[in-house]
Symmetry: C2
Subunit: 460 residues, 2 copies
């Protein structure tokens, strides 16, 4: 399986000079992402693409290429796969669509594909997919032009059933500075499916979290068994849960709807966290980088009274409580108030505490409390305010390092967000030192995911 | 009331040269925002701030200044207000905190403030607030440094109970290119409250929508009566709905929790749309710029199969249906498919339709259908793809103008989002021609708000 992601050489079938040719883009995506291996481009007409001669006689290909990417019309796929077999190729991404998902009449073509694959011992990703993106190796098999320079290497690997969602997830994860190690667009899952990928990723040392976007679960039992034994967090966004979606899902990736209550129960038992949105996957990824959240008791520190109120609502909505803090803790923080016009409670409005020492005392003493499982910190940041009050703990870098060290030391999560302009939030996020959530409410959602994860894990 | 937003002259009390002085910032915020009127700065110590001499003897102030902004310690506020009265000032923003919200013992001070105000006929905003931001006049009374250059003039006016939320809302609305006409930070609402502001904004010609963030509703009956007669959309984000929030809300803006079920029912009857998050306010603002949504039947057009599935789920979740489209419509669009590998339904996966004419036909014919009330359009945009396929209708500007004209002509909403990198989405958004939602799911949430609005309005 490893060479699906780190092949020494690849061959792309279906390439042409024609500006609208899609297979050509597979070559350019790999080149742009810095793929170091050999790339062979095969097509029907001679020509050159991206500095490479198009090979019109595939028999001249060397034997034992690691991976084939096939984007030829559906009726030629089986033939191409046979050729791969004869040439000693044992891995193929079949990008071509128009199989089962399009018409029941072509399912015999899929059967034929499987037969050819079996005959030669070829493992398949797809058909009807965009394959694999692996920033670590530079392999980028999508046939849609992707701004690959924007994609970031990171700790999350993803299995995504849909091609469009694959691209969008790659952008979201990169834009949020989480990055990803591998994305696999699984398509119709004719041979390899989410379970095979999960098994590989569980042992892949570049993968710290496994995320799944699925429109259907094909082998639920094996998936759940595997996930139960996973050391790494497994997060799923399962769509196709409505009657409206189910017909379009079938014609999209031949996905059959599952009974969602059954799915939900099974996921819970398997210790898989479930989210309900693509953006929530990114929130989950950040949340799961934090230390464990062992209970539902939070201390909320906010440098804005209004957000203390909003956060109080958000905590209760997500099943958290904000227990009263001991008097000693309150009075140790009260010493740092400026005008003494705000009363301190939990959620705590630190709007009046301008001395960074007050913030440090508040954070440390809350994390030290036995009846507090985690902290929500909603911080006001404005470069102008910093110049005057220096309210934060040094530069954004120092601040994030402080939070990281403190959170690890106390082994409790700090869900950190900022009241700030988007570009100032971006400044913190791109440092990628410690998770930064986009707003205070999102940080509570994140703790909800984290809490869910640890609850589900501990039930196993 | 108008001169609270467009004063010819203002005086700021509590200014000092001290770098940590907050009142000074009120002056600089106004200067930076381009306030054209006269600004007087009053303080106890002589000195200069932002090129202005600090006036230490307030008796030397000219008579009849339009607006006073008061940020002196709580115990001096009444005295300062009395001075304002004698000087013929009839409007004051009291920024100072430390009143009712801090301790029950100081409520007599509030009573005194009201007495002084009554004696001189002064109307008050606050105390414990940051006042008014009005990009149209350049008035910007917050005492926290605000990057005023970032704030955008726009059609939405807002009443916000909390100062921190005021600033953050101002950034959110500006960053999303919606902009705002006036934001009023209402604080403790000792004199003027949301009802007074609502009444003014209903007749303010620069205001097309009225948004409220409230932690408490003080005069629900009058608010509902007023809202029922409003020609403009009224949207509310009411927080302080949990036990956790209620104690902190009281110490924040002296807000008492209301019974949320009562609030919910009353808002419905009054035709006020309710949202549950600050970001949702911005989504609502964009939604309410679209033509009316008269029913719950949508056509969903998506240039990605995966998102057709996700959108199908989102539509059903929000109470929408996606009725089958007539065969003639389907076949008129099918002519534009490229490889003919995707079946068309509703939600419709247009991934295979690369000809912009196909998109135009799909949009027009769906909007023409009597049994379709609105369209969701999730569009794939990539400058690279555009170079090759030219899938979209011209430049981003031309595309948005096309959608705007079409939507107005058919008098039905098109909820438009993009699969794209964030900066490409930003390119569309900043044109500010037609609402662009941040992702496909958000566009369905937007239609939900719009539907809610029209349902509630039509019940009146």
């Amino acid at each position: 399986m490893r060479r699906f992601f780190y092949p020494a050489s690849i061959v792309v079938f279906g390439v042409a000079e024609n500006p609208r040719n899609l297979a050509k883009t597979i070559v350019s995506n790999c080149l742009e992402m810095g793929f170091k291996g050999e790339i062979y481009a095969v097509g029907r007409q001679p020509g050159r693409i991206h500095g490479k001669a198009i090979i019109t006689d595939p028999e001249t290909l060397p034997d034992g290429i690691d991976l084939a990417v096939i984007l030829v019309p559906a009726r030629f796929v089986a033939e191409t796969l046979g050729l791969c077999g004869r040439k000693g190729i044992r891995r193929a991404v079949i990008s071509t669509g128009g199989f089962r998902e399009f018409s029941v009449n072509v399912s015999h073509v899929e059967k034929e594909l499987l037969e050819v694959a079996k005959r030669y011992g070829i493992r398949l990703i797809g058909p009807n997919c965009i394959g694999v993106i692996c920033p670590g190796s530079g392999l980028c098999t999508p046939f849609n032009p992707i701004q690959v320079k924007r994609l970031k290497n990171g700790p999350v690997s993803m299995v995504v059933q849909s091609g469009g969602v694959t691209t969008q997830a790659a952008y979201y994860f990169s834009e949020e500075h989480v990055g990803f190690s591998k994305i696999i667009s699984a398509g119709n899952k004719l041979d390899l499916n989410e379970v095979d990928f999960l098994e590989y990723l569980m042992n892949d040392e570049d993968t710290q979290q496994i995320h799944l976007y699925l429109e259907s679960i094909d082998d639920g039992k094996r998936l759940m068994e595997l996930a139960r034994g996973a050391k790494k967090p497994v997060v799923i966004f399962k769509s196709n849960v409505s009657a409206t979606a189910s017909s379009v899902a079938y014609s999209h990736t031949a996905a059959l709807a599952n009974d969602d209550r059954v799915v939900d129960g099974a996921l819970k038992q398997a210790g898989i966290v479930r989210v309900h949105d693509l953006r929530e996957l990114v929130v989950a990824a950040k949340a799961l980088m934090l230390p464990p959240l062992r209970g539902n008791r939070l201390a909320v520190l906010s440098i804005s009274g209004g957000f203390s109120v909003i956060l109080g609502d958000a905590c209760e909505k997500h099943g958290f409580t904000c227990p009263a803090l001991p008097k000693e803790v309150i009075s140790s923080i009260e010493r740092y108030r400026r005008a003494g016009v705000i009363r301190l409670a939990n959620p705590m409005d630190l709007g009046d505490v301008h001395d960074p020492k007050g913030l440090i005392v508040a954070l440390k003493s809350c994390l030290d409390l036995e009846h507090i499982d985690g902290v929500v910190l909603a911080f006001l940041y404005d470069p102008e305010v910093e110049k005057i009050f220096g309210r934060s703990i040094g530069t954004p870098e120092q601040m994030l390092n402080f939070l990281k060290t403190l959170s690890q030391e106390k082994n409790k999560p700090i869900a950190f967000s900022l009241f700030a302009r988007r570009e100032d939030i971006e400044e913190f996020k791109q440092l990628n030192i410690f998770p930064v959530f986009n707003d205070p409410v999102e940080s509570v959602q994140a703790l909800h995911v984290l809490h869910d994860h640890w609850r589900r894990r501990n039930c196993n």
